[in-house]
């Protein structure tokens, strides 16, 4: 096991990549970078259990796989359960002297559909049982794989193919499910939100999730140029903007009790939030919000973001 995660370019270059070229994720997709950064945090032998979704489909189109570490996909809503089984079987076999590795980390990965919605029960169960694994949700804000349908992770005002912006409805009306907060309420040792632009923060947190004794949970923001109708080259800058506007604040929660605002968000707290419009204008899926009739709706979204931000700052003890 490597003692420290790779966060400098020199160390990163020495690390074996866990995902290879030739995968068929869309140009500019955030997810392969999310996986690359996860790979920088690994401690040693690792098994990945992947829910159905873009990442699963586009990295393992038979007869090709982009994965260089052991990887399994079973279904959409069950990667946390599959991970429970894999981990406990390894533990049992090791205790009986039937298993050669001293330690194997098990990571379950799901998209926002597989985590916020259909796989939520399986995640909650696995967290309650306390398996020593890490669950990572890569959140691209909708069911992108099936054609951009709304999910529990879709932002208010976001247009999807099941939350159209029409003459009377301005995209999704409901709030985004606060998944990381709900997960933290399970009182598990470690929960963190991350996104790729702050890559050091990402890698360090992922390693903390692995190091935690018991379940660790990572909520990774992951832009989707195809679904969001954003420029492919802006994936990382949009991700950064999600932090700067408070739409995806970065924080950690220890044992469900200790809330810590991460460096990048602390700097945002010092500088003040950028208006959500700056984020919205980078993506076609929010274009309708700039129509005059939705100005009030846009304002309400901003108020909600401001409110949530203040609550978070208070929880984290940030003035």
């Amino acid at each position: 096991m490597s003692n420290k995660p790779a966060v400098s370019i020199k160390d990163m270059l020495k690390q074996d990549l866990i995902l290879s070229s030739g995968h068929r994720m869309c140009a500019g997709c955030g997810a392969p970078t999310v996986i690359k950064l996860m790979g920088m945090a690994l401690r040693g032998p690792t098994i990945v259990c992947n829910s159905t979704g873009c990442l699963e489909v586009a990295t393992t189109i038979y007869p090709y796989t982009a994965w260089k570490i052991p990887w399994i996909h079973v279904a959409f809503e069950n990667s946390a359960a599959v991970a429970s089984g894999a981990l406990e079987a390894i533990n049992a076999m090791r205790e009986k002297g039937h298993y050669k590795h001293e330690h194997v980390d098990v990571i379950a990965i799901g998209g926002d559909g597989g985590s916020f919605d259909i796989g939520f029960g399986a995640i909650s169960g696995a967290l309650e049982r306390g398996h020593d694994f890490v669950y990572m949700c890569y959140d691209n804000g909708a069911y992108q794989n099936t054609g951009i349908q709304r999910s529990g992770a879709t932002f208010t005002g976001q247009e999807t193919t099941t939350s159209w912006a029409g003459k009377v409805i301005p995209g999704k009306l409901e709030r985004k499910k606060p998944l990381a907060e709900i997960v933290a309420a399970h009182k598990i040792p470690y929960v963190a939100t991350v996104e790729p632009s702050n890559f050091r923060d990402f890698i360090m947190k992922f390693r903390k999730a692995l190091d935690a004794e018991g379940p660790g949970f990572i909520h990774a923001f992951s832009p989707c140029p195809r679904g969001w109708r954003s420029a492919t080259e802006e994936t990382i800058s949009i991700s950064r903007l999600a932090v700067e506007t408070g739409l995806h604040p970065l924080y950690e929660v220890i044992n469900g009790e200790e809330w810590i605002m991460s460096g990048p968000s602390k700097r945002v707290a010092e500088a003040g939030l950028k208006p959500v419009e700056e984020y919205f204008k980078t993506q076609g899926q929010f274009k309708h919000l700039f129509r005059p009739e939705w100005e009030g709706f846009r304002k309400k979204i901003q108020e909600q973001v401001n409110h949530d931000w203040e609550v978070l700052k208070k929880r984290c003890g940030v003035e």
Binding site: T46, Y62, P70, I72, A81, G85, A89, A126
Partner: protein, 397 residues
């Protein structure tokens, strides 16, 4: 070498308890299960073994049956010996992952206390759950006694984990009728079971030293080939079953075959039934023979793969086959067991009449008189030369 009598433990056990004991001796790595009546005793007993340090498995008390089967797939994928238990609605909730378990070639043993499906919700026995999963790719073995449940559960691991099979096996017992009924069970010594099963040697596993990808996307160009593999594997299972059973019989003197026959050689009417109905049917056949009716019985144990050729061979000489089955395939020409029997007979030179009686749904008692009624009807149909495709017996009409 047969195990000497003084090494055998004899106890009165329910079907569930017999299965729990077999699972204990199988030295599982993982048991993942969710409570559902009438399977609960299996997991309760097993958890009791765990609490007393009598098993080394990690028991995963999952939050749903869907996760139970999913955890089993994960555990099996890394090379563990794995089991779960369920019934009825729980089994139905697993449905998606049943197909994954079979297609991913995971040798999981799945013990089921067969129970009716909702609605209305009903906790009693029929075979709707087992029949609902009949196309999932699981091998299906239905048991008549607690002894058979014990024996079959042990053998199931050896069949499933055989590299020519690599398929999950369902072991079915009738809910309440067997799951909660105490019978005399002979149990092998632990070391004999350990030697019989050995430690699972995975054919291929998720291993950090040799990273593979399991469960990828396979489209029009490859999917069909994997289904061909799966079909070949399940159709080859009876051969392995027979080998395993022979080895087991050498230890215990007990064997069941793909199906049991009772006085079928000269029978005019052969009853075909599964699980505990088999016992009742045999008693009825004996009684009817005393009155001059030549009745025989096939008690089918292996429903999947369906032993069509062997069954056709036994049935061919009879005038009629009276199928008694505890499930409906709504809207089908007839019901699951009769569909198989009719298909098996289609190519036979001599084709007996097939009469299908759906009985016992939702735990409605299937008494000896139910069988007598069916046999009397069958006799009339033989005389007429014509029978309905199916009918229900024991329902108020």
């Amino acid at each position: 070498m047969s195990v000497p009598k003084n090494k055998i433990t004899v106890e009165g056990l329910t079907g569930d308890a017999a299965i729990a004991y077999a699972l204990k001796q199988a030295d599982l790595d993982v048991l993942a299960a969710y409570p559902i009546t009438p399977q609960t005793i299996i997991v309760e007993d097993y958890q009791h073994f765990a609490a007393n340090g009598e098993v080394k498995a990690h028991v995963i008390p999952v939050e749903s049956e869907h996760s139970a089967m999913s955890a089993c797939v994960g555990a099996s994928a890394v090379g563990g010996r794995v089991a779960t238990a369920s019934a009825s609605a729980g089994l139905a909730l697993m449905w998606e992952i049943l197909y994954c378990a079979a297609s991913m070639r995971m040798p999981i043993v799945f013990t089921v206390a067969n129970r009716a499906l909702s609605a209305p919700i009903n906790i009693h026995n029929d075979h709707s759950d087992g029949m609902g999963m009949r196309d999932s790719g699981f091998i299906q073995l239905y048991c008549q006694s607690s002894q058979e449940a014990y024996d079959t559960t042990i053998m199931a691991f050896k069949i499933a984990e055989n590299h020519d099979v690599l398929l999950p096996v369902m072991v079915g017992i009738d809910g309440f009728i067997l799951s909660h009924n105490v019978e005399r069970v002979e149990m092998l010594p632990d070391d004999v079971v350990s030697k019989f099963l050995g430690v699972r040697k995975p054919f291929i596993a998720l291993d950090p030293d040799k990273p593979i990808t399991m469960g990828p996307l396979a489209l029009t160009d490859y999917y069909f080939e994997f289904k061909e593999q799966q079909d070949k594997a399940i159709m080859g299972a009876p051969k392995v079953y027979k080998e395993v059973e022979k080895e087991f019989a050498d230890l215990t003197g007990r064997k069941y075959g793909l199906f049991e026959t009772h006085k079928t050689n000269d029978a005019d009417i052969i009853i075909i039934a599964m699980s505990t109905m088999g016992g009742t049917a045999k008693v009825v056949a004996d009684a009817m023979r005393e009155k001059g009716d030549k009745v025989g019985v096939i008690r089918l144990k292996m429903f999947r793969p369906f032993p069509a050729k062997e069954i056709a061979k036994v049935l061919g000489k009879a005038k009629a086959v009276a199928v008694f089955e505890k499930a409906m395939s709504f809207g089908a020409a007839t019901h699951p067991l009769a569909l198989e029997v009719r298909t098996a007979l289609y190519d036979a030179e001599e084709r007996p009449m097939v009469v299908d009686f759906v009985v016992g749904l939702g735990g409605r008692d299937v008494t000896p008189m139910t069988f007598v009624e069916g046999i009397e009807k069958t006799k009339k149909y033989i005389a007429k030369g014509k029978a309905p495709m199916y009918e229900t017996l024991g329902v108020r009409k």
